[in-house]
Symmetry: C2
DNA sequence: TCAAGATTGATGCAGATGCATCGATTGGTT
DNA sequence: AACCAATCGATGCATCTGCATCAATCTTGA
């Protein structure tokens, strides 16, 4: 429990930090240069567009995206400001509301999706064989589980979310 | 050049983003809970303390840490405010200056180093065998090279830096 | 020697983030 | 029914970031 980290573990840590920061940067820059908004917007539009009726409770969106509550609230602000989503009343729970993706939102999501795919292929896919990518997944997954000395049952987490930063 | 990314590549991308964000968060939270400043401070103190005379030009620090120039400038501000480093005149180039780590700075660096090591062991080392950590390094390294459609010779990069976010 | 351009470091500003807290509403307990 | 704790979403505030630009100094080349 108190062992000091092996050089291998330290090296892995360092690379994990550096490589993701670099790759993320590259992908995000590509999208930005193409005139697209940040990746977080895409992730949100993605969750909305795949949800039934294209609408979600902010609280759901938050869980899918693994970002803090206030962050969700403000992300929604921006999407709404840009006409990509709309806030709708929630009749069954008057504390809450629904966020619904608009046609414009779906359109942007689609266009971003293509650019995003190209960027991922360029910065990830083209550098690894599929087999190596799969190996990488396996190793990363081993790091991704119990994290906080999780006091009790932390609920299982969506397996498709990409935390926005 | 225009292939769409394989599912393996996409999966690797998603995990790379999610896992590092999670692991970073865990480590940073551990340090924060122990009353320590952000990791970037540690990285800076690290570079300073290993430099000859414990001093560096901001421009060097910037290259080591892979962060933008203004970010370096402000990080130094904070270190100086806290008495962890000092700005010293640079006689050979009056545009520039030296940043020198103080005794307090070295002390903090040392204490943080221990906590940091424990956190890395907890969140990385304990979850991978050394062999797997090494494999992970190898795979990550493959992602870490040419990134921008690098127009010409981008200078080689320090191999020990951890970009601060 | 001198002007043109590059380098170094700082900073004003707008936007983003983290933290704490708020008001509103709900559900559970007695 | 009446209360109280928990949940939902928003927001004020301080801080941090990214971008553009600044002044000062250095280097180059005619």
């Amino acid at each position: 429990m108190k062992r000091k980290p092996s050089t291998e573990a330290s090296a892995a840590w360092i690379r994990l930090m550096r490589v993701q920061s670099r790759v993320l940067d590259c992908v995000e820059q590509d999208l930005k240069r193409a005139g697209f908004p940040p990746l977080a917007w895409f992730d949100a539009l993605m969750e909305l567009s795949r949800a039934p009726n294209g609408e979600l409770r902010p609280v759901e969106l938050e869980k899918q995206m693994l970002i803090p509550q206030y962050s969700t609230s403000r992300l929604i602000d921006r999407l709404v400001d840009e006409g990509l989503a709309a806030r709708r009343e929630c009749k069954m729970d008057k504390r809450g509301l629904f966020v619904e993706i608009t046609a414009t939102g779906r359109e942007l999501h689609k266009k971003m999706g293509s650019a995003y795919a190209v960027a991922i292929e360029k910065h990830v896919g083209s550098k690894l064989t599929d087999a190596d990518a799969a190996k990488l997944c396996g190793l990363l997954d081993r790091l991704g589980c119990a994290c906080h000395d999780t006091p009790a049952g932390s609920p299982p987490v969506a397996k498709d979310a990409i935390p926005a930063r």
